[in-house]
Subunit: 425 residues, 2 copies
Amino acid sequence: MTAYTTRTKDELQTEERAVRAKFEELKARGLKLDMSRGKPGKAQLDLVMDMFDVLKTPEDYLDGKLDVRNYGELSGIPSAKALFADILGCRPAEVFVGGNASLNLMYGVISKAHTHGLLHSEKPWSKLEGIKFLCPVPGYDRHFAVTQSFGVEMIPIPMTAEGPDMDAVEAAIADPLVKGMWCVPKYSNPDGIVYSEKTLARLTHMKPAAADFTLMWDNAYSVHEFCGDYVPFPDIISLCREAGNPDMVYEFASTSKITLPGAGISAMAASEANIAYMTKLLSIEIISYDKVNQLRHARYLKDKAHTLTLMKKHAAILGPKFQTVLNALDKEIAPLGIASWQRPMGGYFVSVNALPGTAKRAVALCKEAGVVMTGAGATFPYGKDPADSNIRIAPSLPPINELEAALEVICTCLKLAALEKLLAK
Amino acid sequence: MTAYTTRTKDELQTEERAVRAKFEELKARGLKLDMSRGKPGKAQLDLVMDMFDVLKTPEDYLDGKLDVRNYGELSGIPSAKALFADILGCRPAEVFVGGNASLNLMYGVISKAHTHGLLHSEKPWSKLEGIKFLCPVPGYDRHFAVTQSFGVEMIPIPMTAEGPDMDAVEAAIADPLVKGMWCVPKYSNPDGIVYSEKTLARLTHMKPAAADFTLMWDNAYSVHEFCGDYVPFPDIISLCREAGNPDMVYEFASTSKITLPGAGISAMAASEANIAYMTKLLSIEIISYDKVNQLRHARYLKDKAHTLTLMKKHAAILGPKFQTVLNALDKEIAPLGIASWQRPMGGYFVSVNALPGTAKRAVALCKEAGVVMTGAGATFPYGKDPADSNIRIAPSLPPINELEAALEVICTCLKLAALEKLLAK
């Protein structure tokens, strides 16, 4: 095989006929596969079923002297705070434990910034015109949807191998209307990039013009290696404190991909001043999140070390799925020179950069052949990838045999979209 | 015993010395009792421990074909929608099932009305000046705290034996800035009043000036009789639909006082158009609430009839506690003519109207003697009871022997506060 770009028009036409025939053959198989979201597979869900056996007698429901079954204890139960503090590397007093969804806590911060303002806000953001947010791209569509929903203007920041392009970030924060930045610092969604220490140093030492500039630090994959050993990662709360920016960050985490996506627990970590401020606002909204589930998780996961043993079991299921994706891309696509991709060690995605101008078409072709992917463009603010190139592959849900079938479709569609593009020139 | 108001000054002074001596004696006992909140007692929590045994094998976690352990199904699982629809009398398609806190869903509606507007809003409420809300008084402090938190002006509406004073309501809604009304329609908090059919008819047929006027219908005590049989109550969603006001109401309910306060499930019922509108807004905030807990509840509570058998067990624990309160008031306070109170058949409170001008003092005296009550005034917007009269007694948490001790304190403090007031004239 030679790269498409080195082939003659005749050669490309021949290839196009062959690839289209293959596509029609795949279509005829009537596949129905969903790879649109980073959903764990059934085997991963089955891993943790013993979690529901840890609380049995009424006495089991005491966390110290606290009966977790009753009202109260808004900021979370002590043992769940200790668990997240251990996993994240911060102090228990810097943790607020929520319900089953960290997205809910993130939305809460942005929503309350608009309606009430944050700790250092001069006024609620809803009273300002032209608020902006920095969005490293490619990034997570649900983050962008939150800021979009509040009418916040989103500024794309290119990702580098070390994290967001810090020159671009430092230039942008001179604008007092730039109020914050979305970050997935470890195994970024979708690239799987880990922010470097240099990036962390520059981020935590920033001097934004806005006093209430906030890093929305979604540490979604803090212990989510699927390949190799656990990789330590610095605690952002401590780093910001040491850099003299203690209140500049809200960190988020959850057990959605440790225990169960539909029934885990989440946490928000921040300076004690931020936690106190946000807890007061949240006291109007809820008496407490589900403390029985918090205790169940604290008892089941125990601590970071024990959590990491569970993550090894997830890795044993996930690793081969990621390898299946990479194998197919390496074999079918690499020689053709029509795409590049990341080789992440953790997280939930493989980020593919297809031939510019072909991502939308490739994803549409996949859908036609029964494989639903994340919409092309979804990894950019407003769903607009200027290069129409990035495609997010989520290999976690299907079993390996279905994944192989899906990859056959994906590779065929990447080829066909590239051929159509090259032949249309 | 004769009424205080018929006694001479000398007689009152003698009584005051005796009551103060009694107060000092009670204070010396060093009690530490919390009656500030409608918290179920431990015996009630223990009632439902078998709830955690209903899901065992991985197959148990299927609701139809839906694996409730994974992401998705934002508006709730089918069986939990069916359960709430059965309890409330509406259709499953009119139900959104949430997390452990109905307050969270209520806050969500008010918050989104401000940031995004409701279905029939011309613009988000945050873009308007002088928004108002109707607040039947006495009412629930957490409701008032939500609207106060958003800077909404609250207009007190007097409660009558049939519900809110509808003449006052109908006059108020001619103002297009009046955007809604808080209601606890069955066993109102704190009076325990059940809205009459006449009140329901007038409420559902209202023609408010504001197109997005919303009844915030907190049906917190829909199956919460502690005395006598279940009392049927009309479904507000159907009534509003039939009255030509299908989108005028959001109803809220939870299992906080059916299963567990810290770990129940909640629901929001509304027209299908409202549910679709709110689900779309909520899709930005959360992928789904805890569906395992939803399924656990659906399997455990089964349906309305089975839920009512559980409520009988709660009533067997709660009934005697309410009787203890009423017995003490009847014996100690009634003959003195210094207070009146409701005799509810359900709900979680006894609402006492003390001699005007004495509620704050009585509650402060209780605290001095080790009995923490809901703050006087808390049942009014901004915490301001113009008559300084209403006191909310929450008898559910303490066991009977502690409750008897607490009532001795409460009755003594009601007397002492009244005597101080009468003697100061």
